[in-house]
Amino acid sequence: MHVLALDTTTEACSVALIVDATAEGRGGRLRERFEIAPRRHAELVLPMVGSVLAEAGLALRDVDAIAFGRGPGAFTGVRLAIAIAQGLALGADRPVVPVSTLATLAQGAVARRVAPGDRVLALIDARMGEVYAGAFAVDDEGLVRPLGDERVLPPGVVAAPDGPFVAVGSGWDAHRDVLLASWGRSPVADDGDALPRAGDLARLAARELAAGRAQDAARARPVYLRDKVALTVDEQVAARALGSG
């Protein structure tokens, strides 16, 4: 199967095309474009799609699904990813595969620094004193699987996975001291500069696609985790009353 993948949920913008992947997300030929380009995702992402397809000699219609980073991450970037994926999917009449940004980040760690049996804790800085957190195990195929729900929470209450684990992402980078103090132990390896890459996303998407979990574009949803983004007029009044009382 062939999968096109894109991610714009962090300061990185990336697109990948995996050709002839197996259901395990293995094999196949991977082409990837990756650029750290804050605020330039909108202009970069479609040219990157064009470039990987051209290099592989494929048309968009030749891919079996369009995968995208569904968040959590920067809200605008999360929405850009789904909007681009939906537009491509509508035009090419293909399904989409939403993939967790935290899982993508964790998958990147597998390729680079995880020993068999290790777990991965992926943390993305959510600003406002919180992180997006997800813990993952690595299966026999070398693909990550979630150990629980992804959450947004203050770093001081992020639990470390049982046993040896690797910590990655901007959330780790920003809150390392608080995390270490609350855990009382250290990860066996870490990478605070790690960013999600569409190549890793494509491998996870191939597994989802093979398992029949591709979706119609209209049903795909972004995942923000932070769902309370504004106060209603009543809540503003209540907050002011509290503040002045």
Binding site: A42, L44, A83, I84, G87, A89, G91, T232
Partner: protein
């Protein structure tokens, strides 16, 4: 040429298909308004607006295409609002629209939201052509433009403070009426007396085509505080406000027509739905002998049809957007490229 139009610049998700072929025109359109969503927050929350656009857009596109009896492959181009507006909200429609065009191998165009509004009257049967003067009156804008040709716009005057729609909304709010205030004021005013209160016609006593509506709102507030407990005060004040606001707009329109020598006035934007404004401009048109054109009321406010239409005119003229995808919060109308003559 059949063009899909997507509008997501603020709190309406609009989708339409426009066909430039003779006798075709607007094939289908659909709109989802977020007014109810933002009501509890006392105004548009940009993040919530963007989130809602993402959920609505694909189903609305499918519905619109179904209604037009078309598949995506029948489209010859895609137009999306590229600004001005809320950047996060714009990116939803722009990203999806541009990706769709990419997937179809068809041209795409980023449309200026205000050009969409000011060309909306041209979608109606027997449309007027340039040159004309356009009055754009909405919740966010009040401007007079000279339209020498489609795409050639010169700003003649604009508001120095509140937009006309904003003045309706704020007046309604201070009188305890629901949002959006324009329709609420208009309903109340219909039963009010025009001569009990008199409010100033701001900036009409001096030359120039700029507007100012914030002082008018203060006058209303004073009258309301003094008379609110008297019978019919709300209706009479609403009527007097509506008279002042619409007469001010009408005076400046006549002045703009006189200054430019144009023989046609087109009116667009949400306040263009106001019946009293329409009556006044219609009688001015009879007296001065100019032609008056409005969009149908549903296309006075934000909609996808005007974006499909403006985009179709530009794409049909060969003005596709090949530059990298880009949306803008601000975007001067005067900087747009003009359509080639013909």
């Amino acid at each position: 040429m059949r063009v899909l139009g997507l509008e997501t610049s603020c709190d309406e998700t609009g989708v339409a298909v426009y066909d430039t072929a003779p006798g075709r025109g607007l094939l289908a359109h659909a709109l989802h308004s977020q007014t109810a969503l933002h009501l509890a927050y006392g105004g548009v929350v940009p993040e919530l607006a963007s989130r809602d656009h993402v959920e609505r857009l694909v189903p609305l596109i499918r519905r619109t295409l179904d209604e037009a009896g078309l598949g995506v492959a029948d489209l010859d181009g895609v137009a999306y609002t590229a600004g001005p507006g809320l950047v996060g909200a714009l990116l939803v429609g722009a990203g999806l629209g541009r990706a769709l065009a990419f997937a179809l191998g068809k041209p795409a165009i980023g449309v200026h939201h205000m050009e969409g509004h000011l060309l909306a009257p041209l979608m109606e049967p027997d449309p007027p052509g340039p040159p004309f003067v356009a009055l754009l009156v909405s919740g966010g804008h009040t401007m007079l433009l000279e339209v020498a040709a489609i795409g050639r716009y010169r700003l003649l005057g604009e508001t120095l403070d509140d937009a006309a729609g904003e003045a309706f909304d704020k007046t309604a709010k201070l009188m305890g009426l629901p949002y959006p205030g324009g329709p609420a004021i208009a309903r109340l005013a219909a039963g009010g007396r025009p001569d009990r209160f008199t409010f100033p016609r701001p900036m009409t006593d001096r030359p120039g085509l700029d507007f100012s509506f914030s002082g008018l709102k203060t006058q209303v507030l004073l009258a309301w505080q003094r008379h609110r407990d008297e019978p019919d005060a709300a209706a009479d004040i609403a009527r007097a406000f509506e008279e002042a606001a619409t007469e001010t707009l009408a005076i400046k329109c006549r002045r703009a027509l006189a200054e430019t020598g144009a023989r046609t006035l087109v009116v667009a934007g949400g306040v263009g739905a106001n019946r009293r404004l329409r009556e006044r401009l219609a009688s001015a048109a009879r007296a001065d002998g100019f032609r008056l054109a409005f969009p149908r009321p549903e296309f006075c406010t934000d909609n996808g049809a005007m974006i499909a239409f403006a985009g179709a005119l530009r794409l049909a003229a060969g003005l596709a957007d090949d530059a990298p995808l880009h949306v803008r919060a601000r975007w001067p109308l005067e900087s747009l490229p003009a359509l080639p003559a013909g």
